[in-house]
Amino acid sequence: MAYINVPEGVPGIRSLVMFRPETGKYLYELAQVLLRGPSPLTEAEREIIATYVSSRNECKFCMSSHAAAARALLGKDEQLMDDVLTDYQSADISDKMKALLNIAGKVQILGKEVKQEDIDAARAVGANDLDIHDTVLIAATFSMYNRYVDGLASLTPPNREDYVEMGKRLAEKGYSVPQPAMAQ
């Protein structure tokens, strides 16, 4: 059970923003612009970065929901999401994505862990300033969402299947604040 009196049966961050929609509004706006707005990274690539950081933070709700969104966006290549979670270095993704995931992993530990050599390595395989900016901010942002979701012990559905519909919705409709009536 969650640590505070959130609507019953509503999972993860959705229950928290229904408890406090005044702050939830901006959390969803940030996710929408960062994961669906203009970026040199595809929507699937951005969801993969978000999932990878959530996995490192052991936030099952965020990891499962964003993995489901990434799979929906990847379509026939959906296996890539699982390959990245198993070992991104051996996954069939671009060298640039590997270098960006390395940076995201450093950000997950702490901002200062990102070293010049990490940046140089990403640039050497084609990453530009915007790629690096968006990667750092996605990793930073999920270091927030993960802590929010688990710090208040929000409901986390246990099975992969529980997230499939959520993932499709995130892939097709993006991030909009859940309304109380929709949640039941």
């Binding site: 940030l30 200062k112 900016h133 710090g151 012990a153």
Partner: protein, 187 residues
């Protein structure tokens, strides 16, 4: 020098926010409602202190200096007192409720799962409301984002604490929304 070309000489988060105004907008609006909205039973000083403490634990010089100066401004205490609160909040003159909330914030900084039901029960038993606990967790989580954005891009920060103290009254008056002009409009 920052890891990317921000086209800005501004310190800390101000460079990346000018570089990316689309993402800066909801980030500043989040900071505004969490830290400055009047409809909150935690004082502005208390909320800034939570942000300061988490930024200190994350070793982010810019954020702990900015928000430490803001906390000092609202709580009417000097930089040494803020430094003492950061270093050891449990042995300070803060209220028992603030000590319990800072303990929760410290756990959030380590990772969401570090917050225990005992910490929550303790905070509730000395009067913390659900909303206060919610806001404490979200402020702590939000600073884990802000701190990583600032340091993950290698931005610079003035060492001199008077730089931040001098700016605090103006920031307290005008708030966070619209505090950074986008690069495009600055040209």
């Amino acid at each position: 020098m920052a890891h990317i070309e921000l086209n800005s000489n501004e310190p800390g988060i101000r460079g990346p926010m000018a570089y990316s105004p689309e993402t800066a907008k909801p980030m500043n609006e989040l900071a505004e409602i969490l830290l400055r909205n009047e409809n909150n039973s935690l004082s502005k000083g208390e909320r800034e202190l939570i942000g300061t403490y988490v930024s200190y634990l994350n070793d982010c010089l810019f954020c702990q200096s900015v928000h430490g100066a803001m906390a000092g401004h609202y709580l009417e205490c000097d930089v040494n007192q803020i430094r003492a609160y950061k270093a050891d909040p449990s042995n300070s003159d803060l209220s028992d409720k603030m000590k319990a909330l800072l303990s929760i914030a410290g756990s959030v900084q380590k990772g969401g799962k570090h917050v225990s039901s005992i910490q929550i029960e303790t905070a509730k038993s000395i009067g913390a409301t659900d909303k206060e606990i919610h806001d404490t967790v979200l402020i702590a989580a939000a600073f884990c984002m802000f701190n990583r954005y600032v340091d993950g891009l290698g931005t610079w920060a003035p060492e001199d604490q008077s730089f931040y103290a001098n700016r605090a009254p103006q920031r307290a008056q005008h708030g966070y929304v619209g505090s950074v002009a986008p690069n495009s409009s600055a040209v």
